[in-house]
Amino acid sequence: MPLNAIDKELLKTIADLHNIPSGAFNIRKDGQGVDRRSSAHIQVIPKTDRPGINIFVSPGTKNEAVHIPVLITLSGIVDVVYNTIEIGEGADVTVVAGCGIHNPGSKKAQHDGIHEIIVRKGARMKYVEKHYGEGDGTGERVLNPKTILVMEMDSVVEMELTQIKGVDSTVRDTKAKLAERASLTIIERLMTHGHQEAVSDMLIELEGENCSAKVISRSVAKDDSKQVFRPVMLAKASAKGHVECDSIIMNRARISSSPAISAEHPDAQLTHEAAIGKIAEEQLMKLETLGLSEKEAEDVILRGFLQ
């Protein structure tokens, strides 16, 4: 199925793709697989028992990427997909996921992506997931990603989870379990506007000795939107963890941020911090002294904050 202009625009926004990617990929559109390709080291295989794919990255695979974007361009669609990703021992790869919704109608368009990811011993994975909504229709654009991450010993994962804009409702659920010396960094960026609502729940379990995790969440809530953040870091071993939630609140928006840390081991070291505030006047004024208008200054600050 050829990609039309809307598809290409969505792909560019959510996956920095200008066309079909080289290497392994799977493009899903309106509840169906559009195109798929495996590479020598990355197998992309459709599931037979439910919608979704299995991705197997061979042990030792280096510097390869797999793109698995999802596009929704019809109104009235509820697309639920189950993807399983296994990163083989010692591999070092990038997974680019993400979903773009172009809702042209009055009915809800929804994508629920359930990702189970296992990162084997000594493997490294960079996981990039962007969410974006657009379209002239009045129908809601809903995205509910669920990620279950299992990290074996000495594995390293960096996750960038970004909601760019245009998503009316999202419930993000991220769970991770870390074995010995595993290292996880999650950077979450989220912007809501209008009457949008976003909930982000995270549970990071530090199970192995000397594993570590860092969660950095930055968000901007504009207009009448609402955001709720509930990241929880639980240390069951001698491990280090840090949770940081930082939000800019504007207009009549509401934000609730409750990072939590919990230790079940005497050598655990956990910290958390949370801040909600408007854009500092001094920041605006500084940029205005450089010749930007107030609106331009605000845009620069927000773009930088979510960068």
Binding site: R218, D246, A280, E282, Q283, M285, K286, L287, E288, T289, L290, G291, L292, S293, E294, V300, I301, R303, G304, F305, L306, Q307
Partner: protein, 248 residues
């Protein structure tokens, strides 16, 4: 020329109106280097911010080359050629040094990078750094100076450039400020407590209690001012001569 006429700035402290600037009248000539000095709380920064438009004057007029800029916004004043280096520059989460320089230099990145080098920061090491709490006070101050010196300006106000900068770097920054001034076409106003800065000025303006108490050529005001410093610091430091010397 920057002309300030009968400028007043009143602010509310919750119960009363307090006069921060009282009937300021001054003309600042083109190409001159002014040291604006005086005790803390005397109104120096407030005057600078009123010139930049950060504080809205409650009375009076400001003219730039006979154009009334009293009602200009900060942005309009910046575009008219007024620049202001903050005493405590704000930090920006996520915004990189290169982003700030790009804005300040209107895309003339070579100029901006040269300025960064000139303030003693290697572009390779700093361009991708975030302007956040990971930078030291001295680093953020230098970046502030680089952004201001990247702009095409007519009037440049430096608010205590010495604050937070180590002694070794300070000499270099000072010489940079002077060099930038000597390119011509710029009126420099430096708010300072530092004798070395004052020694570079063509004129000294002494502010206290929200008023301009005195102004004049540096040569004429120099001795009197040094005596005034000494007197004040002896009061504040309990007559400790070392503190007076240290202050210098």
């Amino acid at each position: 020329m920057l002309k300030i006429q009968s400028l007043n700035l009143d602010v509310s402290n919750g119960t009363d109106e307090v006069s921060i600037l009282k009937n300021i009248n001054i003309e600042l000539e083109d190409n001159k280097f002014y040291a604006l000095t005086g005790p803390n709380g005397g109104g120096k920064t407030s005057l600078a911010r009123a010139i930049m438009g950060i504080y809205k004057a409650t009375g009076g007029k400001i003219y730039l080359d006979d154009v009334d800029i009293t009602d200009f916004t900060i942005t309009e004043r910046a575009k008219a050629g007024i620049s202001y280096a903050f005493q405590n520059p704000p930090r920006f989460k996520g915004l990189k040094v290169k982003d700030l320089l790009k804005i300040s230099s209107s895309g003339e990145e070579d100029t901006a990078y040269a300025r960064l080098r000139a303030v003693g920061l290697c572009p390779q090491d700093y361009l991708d750094r975030e302007c956040d709490a990971s930078l030291s006070g001295g680093e953020i101050k230098r970046i502030e100076l680089a952004t201001v010196l990247s702009r095409p300006s007519r009037i440049v106000i430096y608010d205590e450039p010495e604050a937070g900068v180590d002694l070794w770097s300070f000499e270099k920054l000072l010489s940079l400020i002077k060099k930038y001034h000597l390119r011509g076409g710029i009126t420099s106003i430096v708010i300072t407590h530092h004798e070395k800065v004052i020694s570079l000025a063509d004129e000294i303006i002494l502010m206290a209690e929200g008023e301009i108490k005195e102004r004049g050529p540096r040569e004429e005001m120099w001795d009197a001012l040094k005596g005034d410093f000494k007197c004040r610091w002896q009061q504040n430091c309990g007559g400790d001569e070392d503190a007076v010397e240290c202050y210098r």
